[in-house]
């Protein structure tokens, strides 16, 4: 059994992290009745490391119902915060806390007899999650080169209230390009849209008795933490579910298992193209446990619709490099195959990966659902987000707006900015080149000719 260490950094990272632990424990409690999976869950998420450069969020956690889950030895906090400044997080707090961070990580790793993966949860737009979070990536790469680095990054939406979020994001992206194995980009606007849609469906009474009003995604029923009316709670729940489903096949049995190292192997054809768009279905529970095939098929269709993606993206109209379908619950290989055959014609795959599907079947469904599907797509549809980010960056950078806040930090120079934006441009260019092949006919490369 492999273990993972979850590192949550900054306000956003810690809030999502909390939702995640809450859900994981609920899943543990529900499955534990059978007694068999106790070891599976408790040993999988061996240790969490919580980092924040101001105390508010972490303190709340320590005083809240999850206080027994976390040990103060797993925390690193400061009081002043990073002031939404990537340079503060990366350079100042990075060097200040490097030793401490290393020590906590080493301790966590020691408790694991087979550490497979680090899950890093952070936002891109602020200072701590963005700056210190990405500093951490380099540290992890140097210290634990064999362990995968999975990063869940919350990208700022265009209406983000942090003015310098484009700077922070682009500086952080360079680090993600160079030091992350896999990045799952998510944006707040998409999460918000999904929540709004669910509320609409649930409250409209349209589906009446067939929809359970409370699902793992939207409700906190049975949760350890009190139900706050914080707008982000439901949104964080979605991300938490993503992480839970990502690891389900590694934790539970199934007829076609998929371990975390297989995600990177199958979905990252070239080292720099490691951004995966995710979608999660269903988002609300149907009361009917024996799902007729039509409903099951609907789940697959939804996974490809742009409304279910966790970031602003339309994979159906862009180019797929690879796609993974991770199914949980009472779904068999024939259901999977039927749906792949059905959906394939409407999707465009790159010429050298026409059948680029990676699939997994996990027998244990998420709590409150009879089945679920997580789709991960390596698709050029991430490009628009990056392009837009670069535009926002350039608007600020041309005027040198707020630049002095960054440049006054030791170790920061203008070259940091220009290198960061070059790195992003190079990435966008890769996606452009791939998109250019979209409309070209798929020609077979001439084969080796053998002399008999």
């Amino acid at each position: 059994m492999t273990q993972s260490v979850v590192v949550q950094i900054g306000q956003c990272g810690n809030q999502i992290g909390c939702c995640f632990w809450d859900l994981a424990l609920r899943e543990h409690a529900a499955v534990n009745q059978k007694g068999i999976y106790d070891e599976a869950i408790s040993s999988f998420f061996r240790n969490a490391v919580l980092i924040d450069m101001e105390e508010g969020v972490v303190n709340e956690i320590l005083q809240g119902p999850l206080r027994d889950v976390f040990d103060s030895k797993q925390l690193i906090t400061d009081i002043s915060g990073s002031g939404n400044n990537w340079a503060m997080g990366h350079k100042v707090f990075g060097s200040l806390y490097q030793e401490q961070i290393l020590e906590k990580l080493r301790k966590s790793a020691e408790h694991c007899d087979c550490l497979q993966c680090f899950f890093i949860i952070h936002s891109m737009g602020g200072g701590t999650g963005s700056g210190l979070g990405t500093f951490l990536l380099k540290v992890l790469e140097d210290e634990f080169p064999e362990v995968y680095r999975f990063v869940t990054s919350i990208y700022p939406s265009s209406e983000d209230d942090v003015i310098t979020s484009p700077y922070n994001s682009i500086l952080a992206m360079k680090e993600l390009n160079e030091h992350a194995d896999c990045v799952l980009p998510i944006d707040n606007q998409s999460l918000f849209d999904i929540i709004s849609k669910i509320d609409l469906v649930v409250n409209s009474g349209k589906l009446d008795t067939t929809v359970k009003p409370k699902s793992l995604v939207t409700s906190s029923a049975g949760a350890l933490k009190k139900q706050h009316k914080k707008p982000f709670d439901a949104m964080n729940n979605i991300v938490a579910n993503l992480l839970l489903n990502l690891t389900s096949s590694a934790r539970f049995e199934g007829s076609l298992n998929m371990d975390l190292n297989e995600i990177s192997m199958n979905l990252v054809p070239f080292p720099q193209l490691h951004y995966l768009v995710s979608s999660l279905t269903p988002l609300y529970t149907l009361a009917d446990v024996n799902i007729p095939p039509r409903r099951l098929d609907q789940m697959f269709s939804d996974a490809f619709s742009k409304d279910h993606q966790l970031m602003r993206a339309d994979p159906k109209h862009s180019l797929y490099l690879a796609c993974a379908l991770m199914v949980r619950g009472n779904v068999q290989i024939s259901d999977l195959r039927r749906n792949i055959e059905r959906l394939k014609p409407s999707l465009r795959f790159v010429s050298w990966n026409q059948e680029g599907w990676k699939t997994s079947l996990c027998s244990v469904p998420p709590v409150g659902h009879s089945h679920s599907l997580l789709a991960l797509a390596n698709n050029t549809c991430v490009k628009p987000t990056f392009v837009e980010l670069r535009e926002r960056f350039m608007r600020l950078y041309k005027k040198k707006a707020h630049l002095h806040h960054y440049l006054q930090v030791e170790g920061m120079e203008e070259s940091c900015f220009t290198e960061a934006v070059s790195s992003l441009s190079a990435l966008i260019q890769e996606y452009n080149q791939l998109d250019a092949t979209k409309s070209m006919p798929v020609a077979d490369i001439p084969r080796l000719s053998i002399a008999m």
């Binding site: 049995e253 190292n261 192997m265 077979d444 084969r447 053998i450």
Partner: protein
């Protein structure tokens, strides 16, 4: 005459369980449609072949289970134990904590050498339990990392350490539409390596077995369990005892002892001119066919159709290429059953397709960094392509 089975990876272990279960159930079936003495001889032969005896009477499968992560092995071991009828050896498995990540290079170059000694020791233990070793049966898939990579590595080792024993690999050909994105790379690397060290590759295609479940058996929601059971049934019908040449009551024919590698005539192959235009291509051309008949009326069955020269390549006489094995004892309660094992062109198209897709991907260099990371370089890929193109060409030209 005992066979030691090595089950590798999730696929290999899931199938292996079904195979032993089928073999056991069939041998203990009451409806053998033959005399009691006949039935007992059959049972004894099957037992000796696939199981060893334990003190409290529960037969132990002659098998070694290998996987790089524990879930599937744990399930397999407990499923067998729970059946109460047979089980796996308590220590007959090798397991690690972290899988091979669908990476052939990781299975072959990292896990293989690292765990070589442990795995070979386990196999040696099983071999020592056999009075007389027929050979090895290795069950693996091609698409993943463990079955394919470690399977190739172990087969090579078996070639080195047990050069005089036969090795047959049961290979699972993945669905054409991805189970694993890098399945074509893993497949060509597996096949090219096995070609150098295995004696026979028995192939089952997931797509074909799936069709059997859908069209012939009318199963609505097909699971891997259904697929594996069909597979096990087919394998059981081949591996269960049959009469040897001496006649009834002598179940000593070695199922692995078929001369699968047909060598072309000494005088060389006929020149590769154009295909004669009047040759009607109705059948896949074979170089060897084995029909296995079980049950009622086996002695009077008419097999003349199999001796039609049109089925075989021009440089072989049907009498040299066609074999029949028979036994009166029914298999799996079927009054009559027949199996056909064939070395023919049937696999040319699927093989060609896999080589083609792998080649396209290779040309774009996609995913190569995942393999070079563990020591499998572009030259290794090229070697594999070269070997398999030769295989494809050889079969095309039959």
């Amino acid at each position: 005459m005992s066979i030691v089975t090595v089950q590798l990876g999730q696929c290999g272990n899931q199938i292996g369980f079904e195979v032993f279960d089928t073999l056991f159930s069939d041998s203990h079936s009451s409806q053998g449609l033959c005399s009691k003495r006949e039935n007992e001889a059959y049972q004894a032969s099957c037992k000796e072949r696939f199981f060893s005896e334990e003190e409290n009477g529960v037969p132990i499968a002659r098998a070694v289970l290998v996987d790089m992560e524990p879930k599937v092995i744990n399930q397999t071991l407990s499923k067998a134990a729970q059946s109460g009828r047979w089980k796996y050896g308590q220590h007959a498995y090798f397991c690690q904590k972290q899988g091979s990540g669908n990476n052939w290079a990781y299975g072959y170059s990292v896990h293989g050498p690292r765990h070589e000694e442990s795995i070979m020791n386990l196999i040696q233990k099983e071999v020592e339990k056999c009075d007389s070793l027929s050979g090895f049966f290795i069950i693996m898939s091609m698409a993943g990392g463990t079955g394919s990579g470690i399977g190739a590595f172990v087969t090579q080792n078996l070639q080195d350490h047990y050069a005089h024993s036969l090795k047959m690999n049961q290979i699972i050909w993945p669905y054409g539409t991805g189970e694993v994105i890098v399945q074509n790379y893993n497949s060509i690397l597996t096949l090219s390596h096995l070609y150098r060290s295995s004696d026979a590759l028995l192939v089952h295609e997931n797509d074909a077995v799936h069709k059997i479940c859908a069209k012939l058996m009318n199963i609505k929601q097909i699971s891997f369990s259904d697929i594996n059971q069909v597979l096990a049934h087919q394998l059981g019908s081949v591996f269960q005892p049959v009469y040897s040449a001496e006649g009834s009551f002598h179940y000593r024919r070695n199922p692995l002892g078929i001369d699968w590698q047909v060598r072309p005539p000494i005088s060389g192959l006929p020149p590769l001119g154009k295909m004669p235009l009047n040759k009607e291509l109705h059948f896949n051309t074979s170089i060897a066919n084995l029909a296995i008949l079980r049950g009622k009326d086996v002695q009077s069955a008419d097999l003349e159709g199999f001796k039609d020269p049109a089925l075989y390549t021009s440089w072989l006489e049907p009498v040299d290429a066609f074999n029949v094995w028979k036994t009166q004892r029914a298999f799996s309660k079927y009054e009559k059953s027949a199996s056909l094992v064939s070395n023919s062109q049937f696999l040319v198209k699927p093989l060609d397709m896999i080589v083609g897709k792998a080649w396209n991907m290779f040309a774009s260099k996609a995913y190569l960094h995942q393999y070079t990371k563990f020591g499998i370089e572009e030259e290794d890929f090229l070697d594999s392509f070269t070997l398999l193109e030769q295989v494809v060409a050889s079969y095309y030209n039959l």
